[in-house]
Symmetry: C2
Subunit: 342 residues, 2 copies
DNA sequence: GCGAAATCGGCGACCGGTTCCGTCAATCGG
DNA sequence: CCGATTGACGGAACCGGTCGCCGATTTCGC
């Protein structure tokens, strides 16, 4: 009940009979102050309940030891492991995570980009699928060397920063190869929004390979919708109620694959006997649902850790021209794929 | 290419021929500076690429407009919607989220609590299930009115702060009532770690009600493990290979319920014909798996939003004695529950 | 025993906005 | 027409650590 304000370094200094510099050093630079003096200061601080004011420290140092992670939907479980990878890597270097959810809304993107630009964070990892105008604009005006470090998790038009990404084109070819190998030749693709480069690449990889194999995907079997189960369910239902329906579906996410499975069940179609389904992401539930899901595995945690690693490297080295990195992927074959009927 | 440093408010002031006070006001207090002057300052700032340094602002104001959310495992999809609720609420008030993953590790808890205590954030929402020593200690030493605002998502021993929580006891009784109503009288409970209050309450609610109904749960049908599918799978297998096996299982999370379903399938037991299963959480996938999961619905997004709301209220009002809030829950009956066999 | 090197610790500028207080001029009321 | 009120803006203290610079004291080699 003594004081209502927190004690400052000056209070400690005065009472301990030393200078503020000594108090500061006692905390920040042990070894630059004699041990007895240091103990005296530390004990006093302890008794007075003194705590370093990190706002002042950050201000003085010109950094915050925080990084922003920008995603399009924080509630998407896809990001859970991704965050974990980033968090672990970041914390081991003393950085903390500031998670920004753009919700596809330009205003909130701007909020978070603004924080980066105004020094509330030291760097940015962006995994929203496309490049916010508010970020592209500064990068277009000034060389990236004058801006805070940024690492992107996809190749973004209008943003020349290091990337740590999935090779969506090649990964989708794995799915195509698998289905072709099983003998499918009438396949459908349920796409995420093709305005997002990643999904366009997934489609291109799949389509190019099937094309090369002489089994091109008919245009009317390429459908696009939101990233939700509901969307995929509706699309699947409409795909499957045509007369000449496909024998296999490649969905651009496990979430959508789940929606497809649900729709197929409602239609009385068996998986994989009547229809094969391949997902993308390898979410945790993919291997425990029934039937378990054949899907493209993405190393989500490693992905996050690597992106963070590159960002921290960029922060500490000041080198804005790091090499791009492709994360490895693989196709995990489970129970939703089989040869086509008959 | 002109300057390597960012311009400061003093640069703007000098070039515009006004004082720093005027520049500051031009940004923060429009209306306190004449419009022509203001325009001149703003234009100049724009041309020089000036941006407010938020570190300095935060420092000066003595706050950061950031709140910490502490969870035990950021990769647990359970938290996804919870985060979303917090994020939305926080951003609408100009606050940002700083997400801390304790991973059950005391060291990292300390890191984040330290950030709170040293002013790197203005408040804390804690949903880890129990109270870190590093947080309990300051609260034990000083009245909470002298510490930063904290809202807990569970009743924590040793932490007297407002809570926004689930009534685990009552919610579990909903599950018990449902199973009893179907005619089950030999039921098992797969618990989360009972050292965590929330799980202990779930067990107590379930056990008390079945007891009152004259159908007490035998001790050997109460098993405990980690929150993972693997753990639940193993526990279920051992439960079901006894001679007098239960006809229903209440799992303390959907994740664990999924593990149980998986194990049952492997044992050749049908759900719900041979065994009923009730989960807890109502995760997004609960309604699309096959069979869809009967579970206790938690309003996770609303929960997060409400907790955030209370925290912001505490921050702005300075009132540390807000009322506790219980979030509503309900049992969602789907396909994994049915009357017992025979 | 003496000078040089090493160690310790004080002084005070500094980081970049914010805001209190005060000046000066223009406007207003009577 | 003059004193009082209002509005715009400048001067400068201030937030709380950090660190370069420098003087003072101790230690050590020879």
């Amino acid at each position: 009940m003594s004081k209502t304000k927190n004690p400052t370094i000056r209070d400690i200094a005065r009472i301990a009979g030393v200078s503020t510099a000594t108090v500061s050093r006692a905390f920040a630079k042990p070894g630059q102050v004699a041990e007895p003096t240091r103990q005296r200061v530390l004990d006093l601080a302890e008794r007075l309940g003194y705590r370093l004011n990190m706002r002042a420290v950050d201000f003085r140092h010109g950094r915050t030891n925080a990084i922003i992670v920008l995603v399009s939907d924080i509630a998407n479980p896809f990001y859970s492991e991704f965050f974990k990878g980033i968090e672990e890597r970041a914390r081991s270097d003393g950085y903390i995570l500031l998670i920004g959810d753009t919700a596809g809304d330009a205003k909130s993107e701007e909020t978070y980009i603004g924080m980066l630009l105004t020094g509330r964070a030291d760097g940015l990892i962006i995994n929203t699928g496309f490049c916010p105008e508010s970020l592209a604009e500064p990068f277009a005006r000034s060389p990236s060397t004058m801006l805070p470090p940024v690492v992107s998790c996809a190749d973004l038009d209008g943003l020349d920063v290091p990337t740590v990404q999935i090779d969506n084109y090649r990964s989708s070819q794995l799915a195509a190869e698998h289905l072709l190998g099983l003998g499918h030749h009438r396949m459908a693709v349920i796409c995420g929004p093709l305005s997002i480069r990643g999904f366009a690449d997934r489609l291109a990889g799949f389509a190019d390979l099937t094309q090369r194999a002489g089994r091109p995907i008919p245009d009317d079997l390429i459908v696009t919708g939101g990233m939700t189960m509901e969307s995929a369910r509706a699309l699947t239902t409409s795909l499957m109620t045509r007369e000449d329906r496909p024998t296999a579906i490649f969905a651009h996410s496990d979430e959508m694959a789940m929606g497809a499975l649900h729709a197929l069940r409602n239609l009385g179609l068996r998986v994989p006997e009547d229809v094969s389904v391949v997902g993308y992401d390898d979410m945790n539930y993919a291997k425990v649902v029934t039937p378990s899901l054949t899907t493209v595995h993405l190393p989500r945690r490693l992905w996050g850790a690597t992106a963070c690693q590159q960002l921290l490297l960029q922060i500490s080295s000041g080198d804005h021209a790091l090499p791009n990195i492709d994360m490895p992927t693989e196709l995990i074959v489970r129970q939703t794929t089989a040869p086509p009927p008959r």
